[in-house]
């Protein structure tokens, strides 16, 4: 039984078919990657699945429930969490606070308790903070906890977004280019982290340009080109698929080299 099921999803921007008729599914603990040349519609697809854009056509099913038109915060409540290609960090808050905010849905208490700083509110904050510190340690940012988030490097911010998304204790996690801008060591760390999360049962949907990483960790790959799904299958099969090679060679020879290597 698949946890996340995408059925015929599509959206138009002013007459342009940005994404059309894309279907695939994701089982618990599985890592599925969405690849394709630049402008293939990967991030748009992510934005539809996570409720940032309202899809024009098709359905998104989460654990058997139709969640197509739900807003992002309601999807989060149902266990779907994500990171962003263009970083969305709370710059004015500390690294720790960024990770604590990820615990929002698990924090109890209400506005009155918060205003009066009642024990329930303080306990809730303390618990979030402890958990946030563990998550920061896990992504290697433990020592930066008290810094202002805006002062971190690009690669560190990518990992902070992952920590924040993990704080939700998600069932499905959408990662939009988590390794972009990271050096080889950092990429490897993220690689491990993703494998670990999947091993814990979190389903991972990944958009990534680093083809080595994609081929190594994905259980399943979906290939988009010009907004359409042109292929789907195991990494080895995808690497041999003539349509995929053509799409990459046609659009971006350099990326195809990555795919071969």
């Amino acid at each position: 039984m698949s946890l996340l099921q995408i059925e015929g999803l599509g959206i138009d921007f002013g007459g342009l078919r940005a994404v059309n008729d894309v279907s695939f599914s994701l089982k618990a603990g599985e890592i599925v990657s969405v690849i394709g040349p630049n402008g293939a519609g990967k991030t748009t697809l992510f934005n539809m699945i996570s409720g940032v854009y309202l899809p024009g056509r098709g359905k998104v099913m989460l654990d058997g429930e139709d969640v197509t038109r739900l807003s992002p915060h309601l999807l989060a409540r149902r266990g779907l969490s994500r990171t962003f290609q263009n970083l969305q960090i709370f710059h004015a808050m500390t690294v720790l606070e960024n990770a604590v905010v990820g615990h929002h849905l698990h924090e109890r208490g209400n506005i009155l308790a918060d205003l009066l700083s009642l024990p329930a509110s303080r306990r809730s904050s303390r618990e979030s903070e402890e958990s946030a510190r563990r998550l920061l340690d896990r992504v290697g940012l433990g020592r930066a906890a008290e810094q202002e988030a805006g002062s971190l490097s690009y690669g560190a911010l990518k990992r902070l977004e992952i920590a924040r998304a993990l704080a939700l204790k998600p069932r499905v996690l959408l990662l939009d280019e988590p390794a972009a801008g990271c050096n080889a060591v950092e990429t490897e760390e993220i690689d491990h982290l993703i494998a670990q999360m999947a091993a814990e049962g979190i389903s991972i949907l990944l958009v990534e340009h680093d083809m080595k990483m994609v081929m190594r960790i994905s259980n399943h790959i979906v290939v988009l080109d010009h907004g359409e799904k042109i292929a789907e299958g195991e990494p080895a099969a995808i690497a041999r698929n003539p349509r995929v090679i053509e799409a990459y060679l046609g659009a971006q020879a350099t990326e195809a080299n990555h795919a071969d290597g």
Partner: protein, 318 residues
Amino acid sequence: MRLSSKTITLLGLAVVIAIAPVFFPSSFYYRVGSLIFVNGLAVTGLVILIGYAGQISLGHAGFAGIGAYACALAPVHFGLHPALAAVLGAVLSGIIAWLVGRPILRLKGYYLAVASLGFGVLVSMVLANEAAITGGPDGMAVEDPGLRGALKAIGIDLSNTEFWYAFSGLILVIGAWLALNLYHSPTGRALRALHGSEVAARAVGIDVAGYKLKAFVISAVYASVSGSLLALQNKFITPDVAGFMHSIEMVTMTVLGGAGSVIGAILGAAILTILPQILTVFQEYEQLLLGLVMMLVMIFMRDGLLPSIARRLRRGGE
């Protein structure tokens, strides 16, 4: 035990309020002081809206007007005690803010500014035009709540100005305490998060519209209580309390001192309350100088006085 920065801030504020009278040459200064506290309270509410949640309002004087007129009208029409009337006004402001805020807060930037401005203008217009009830532009008298008398009965005898200085100061400290509590609470973090990035805030499950509304309602209640305090201590109120210029004054105080910090904003309130008192010496030049101060601070100290000065000190110390 190490004191938290919140405790230090609150203690500092309370100590300044308690000690300042030692240096007052005349009772007039109690009056200025209580005005500062009244403005400081409204501004503390706006810190939650502008500084925490990053939303603008150019109409919050409307809520001050509701609070003020509740104290003027409820005792006359419903025979309510003026102090209870202030509570009624706060509840009413909260409800109106909740109703108005739902549609308004979908708007962003200048659109939010003009919508909130419209709300404030409507409130002040009703207060000015419904003369049969509100006394119109000439204003109306407000009953004394008799709190001073109650204090006297237990042996604390304060002059009128002394009493309102102490009472407004107390309410301000409570208001600041609540706002500071909020800052490090789940709600406060949610507000600051949506200020930073609404998309990311939604992605972690924050109901952005709902939290904006909460900030709007809380700040409205602060403004309302501030209006009530003003009405009660002046014993008289005019529709100007709800006017556009009062809204602007509140926002300016907030941003001038530093919208992100409660103490900064209260400092802003203090400066902009004292400034006109000093400037009356220059009479004709009052507006000119006020405008100049507003421009200069915003141009050269973008984050407001307190954060800018704090940063400069920190840099100097390194």
